[in-house]
Symmetry: C2
Subunit: 195 residues, 2 copies
């Protein structure tokens, strides 16, 4: 069992509505030592994939993307969620529906930071329906960049986004895959079922 699963069991909290809070170590408070183990594991799983850039989405993907980028030796680009006056007009954009916040938002990436020569590793902290990742795939498509793989810290398999992306042919590597979660706090990982 990868340490992340044990950390989720020990420090995570399940709330009604399929909400898993891991904000004591991953996406509100950050345990940098644990973060770096996740970054190293992504680097290991995508060895030899000729990655030129890591693409993530603000805010909670940034920390793990930087850890993986340090190991792989490439820059991070993070998609921004709103159109600030600090970003130029020459951008790629996608519309994303957020299950967590129950609303749509736009994500944008400056065109100068992703191009047709890039082989992109998409990273994020969570994958549920896969909407954020699909938005990032759309941005890579607009840029003409190829996608080397998709790395996810925690996949909620019961919301099927990960398996949908795998069926589309993407190499999705999730460091913890949750098959079932119940409101009493019980969590079943894919590795539990595989014995």
């Amino acid at each position: 069992m990868f340490f992340l699963e044990e950390t989720i069991r020990n420090k995570g909290a399940v709330y009604p509505g399929n909400v898993l809070k891991v904000d004591s170590f991953l996406n509100h408070q950050i345990d940098v030592a644990a973060l770096d183990r996740l970054g190293e594991e992504f680097a290991r799983r995508f060895t030899g994939k000729s990655i030129t850039k890591i693409l993530t989405i603000e805010a909670s993907g940034i920390a793990v993307a930087c850890s993986a980028a340090r190991c792989i030796g490439v820059p991070v680009v993070y998609a921004k969620k709103t159109h600030s006056k600090n970003i130029g007009m020459d951008v790629y954009s996608s519309r994303v529906f957020s299950y967590t916040h129950d609303k749509e938002y736009d994500i944008i990436v400056s065109a100068q930071f992703i191009g047709r020569d890039d082989r992109v590793l998409i990273l994020d902290d969570f994958l549920a329906l896969g909407n954020a990742v699909k938005g990032l795939i759309g941005i890579c498509g607009q840029a003409g960049a190829s996608i080397a793989g998709i790395g996810i810290c925690i996949e909620k398999a019961f919301q099927h986004g990960g398996d949908e992306l795998r069926k589309m042919g993407y190499d999705v590597q999730s460091l913890a895959v949750i098959e079932k979660m119940s409101d009493d706090g019980n969590i079943v990982f894919r590795t539990d079922e595989q014995g």
Copy 2:
């Protein structure tokens, strides 16, 4: 001259309205090697300050906060900008006016992640009017935590937030301090004036 000033001159871009874009290496695309030099410099400047936690604000403060936290050996906590259903009700909050986006927003931190025993290093990428930092100071006040110092990557001194905070008694360490910026791209750093 610290490398950051040279990087700002070489890779930054000045836009009308006192906008300095450093999104090719700091806050949209991230050069992780440069980021780590910033983190190391913060660790050096705040050596011996008994820091227990680094506090920043999403999204653009997260990367540099994680780099510094790795060197100092403490966790990062980042304040969130909206009230998501994934965060509990027991939070500290401040209202912040964003000069960049010309609007007010709330920042929140879960009460469980900052307490009266904490000595907090506040870190952020930019300091202009100082509104975001004042919001984070407010959160530390609500938590009863003490503030060990304030670390900033790029301070726009002509907007006076940094000197205001210094007058309030805070140890503000900015790695690049811009005294003047003109629309033709000319940048004068505090170290230029000190000869």
